[in-house]
Subunit: 215 residues, 2 copies
């Protein structure tokens, strides 16, 4: 009995690319890099494996696109929310800390994905470029908030000191993000956010209020 050719509907290139990227992220996040095979990805996306080569030059380019998508998603989820340009910079800083240390930004899937990609950075210059760009982008945004927050407190740091503070705040946030995502049951609810706000505050010499406590 020969099975009939499966029916299908045509989709836009954008939809298909998105679906394939999403399937790739799902697999790497759930089962690790080794599970992200072209057949596995195609099955997860509900298509056959030939489609991958139709939309991407090869598996490597799909992985590359998935890495970019994941990092953009992470950055957006961290920085999103109402602009609040009227609110003090310290307030916006606290918002970022909070977003960074709560799901979906800090989650086993997001951290696992990120780790898998980071392991690829060493052998692939394109992947390294994504990593580098993502790091500097986030740190620069942080620095752009630290400067006015210090000004509000009456301090005008030198460029060297500002750079050091941005590196340090970035590191605490990254470290807490990492640990919260990798060991989700090791910390109480809100514990990491609280520690993050206190630590960033201590490093900057400011007091940050928990944006979750406001009405």
């Amino acid at each position: 009995m020969d099975s009939p050719r499966r029916s299908f509907t045509r989709e836009s290139a954008e939809n298909r690319r998105e679906a394939l990227i999403r399937a790739t992220l799902t697999l790497i996040g759930r089962k690790g890099v080794q599970a992200a095979t072209v057949r596995g990805i195609a099955a997860e996306a509900g298509v056959t494996l030939g489609l991958i080569r139709h939309y991407f030059e090869g598996k490597d380019e799909l992985i590359y696109a998935a890495y970019q998508a994941h990092m953009i998603q992470l950055t957006d989820a961290t920085m999103e929310g109402p602009r609040q340009s009227d609110k003090p910079a310290a307030h916006q800083l606290a918002r970022i800390v909070r977003a960074s240390l709560t799901p979906p930004v800090s989650s086993p899937k997001a951290v696992g994905l990120w780790a898998g990609f980071l392991n690829m950075v060493q052998r692939d210059p394109r992947m390294a470029e994504v990593h580098s760009r993502t790091y500097y982008d986030f740190r620069d945004r942080l620095q752009a908030l630290i400067a006015p927050a210090l000004e509000e407190a009456g301090e005008t740091p030198t460029p060297e000191r500002l750079r050091a503070l941005a590196i340090a705040c970035n590191a605490v946030i990254d470290g807490l993000w990492l640990e919260g995502g990798a060991l989700p049951d090791a910390f109480g609810p809100g514990e990491l956010v609280s520690i993050g706000l206190t630590s960033v505050g201590a490093i900057l010499g400011l007091t940050l209020y928990d944006p979750g406590e406001e009405a």
Copy 2:
């Protein structure tokens, strides 16, 4: 022309296991998880692939052993050095910060390796156990130094506060370690150590001196 069977010398089980583990770490660190195949590992260790199954139940167990070895190596390199029980706890704390943020602990290879393993943690409970144990072990050692360092400064923190401080210091160190290893050219020599000491000091409310500055 049939090539003759290659000559070999017998080695102790310990030597062989070590060589295979070292080869595994070299490959994952240099070319990523995907490159750590049984044939690649055997070639790197200078043996044939059959030996792997002779010393390990399968590839998974070799990976597991390599993960353990890497984390033990990392922890030892961080905590090593003269005991200095006579020196103040703050001094020992500074030593740990310094060791954590300089090679070989903070290096592209060490960080890349660690990331590859972390990606496996999600699907393999044994790998997760290694991660969890390593994290708590380091944090506990940190906490055991933070307490007396605060006492020296005349402060006696509550257990809750002590826990929060250990989590925070661990996070800064981890974050800086990560960024220094993943982007080795992004920071000046000694910059991360300096930032690490300042940040840990700010979080604890202490002043840490750079142990590299002493005679």
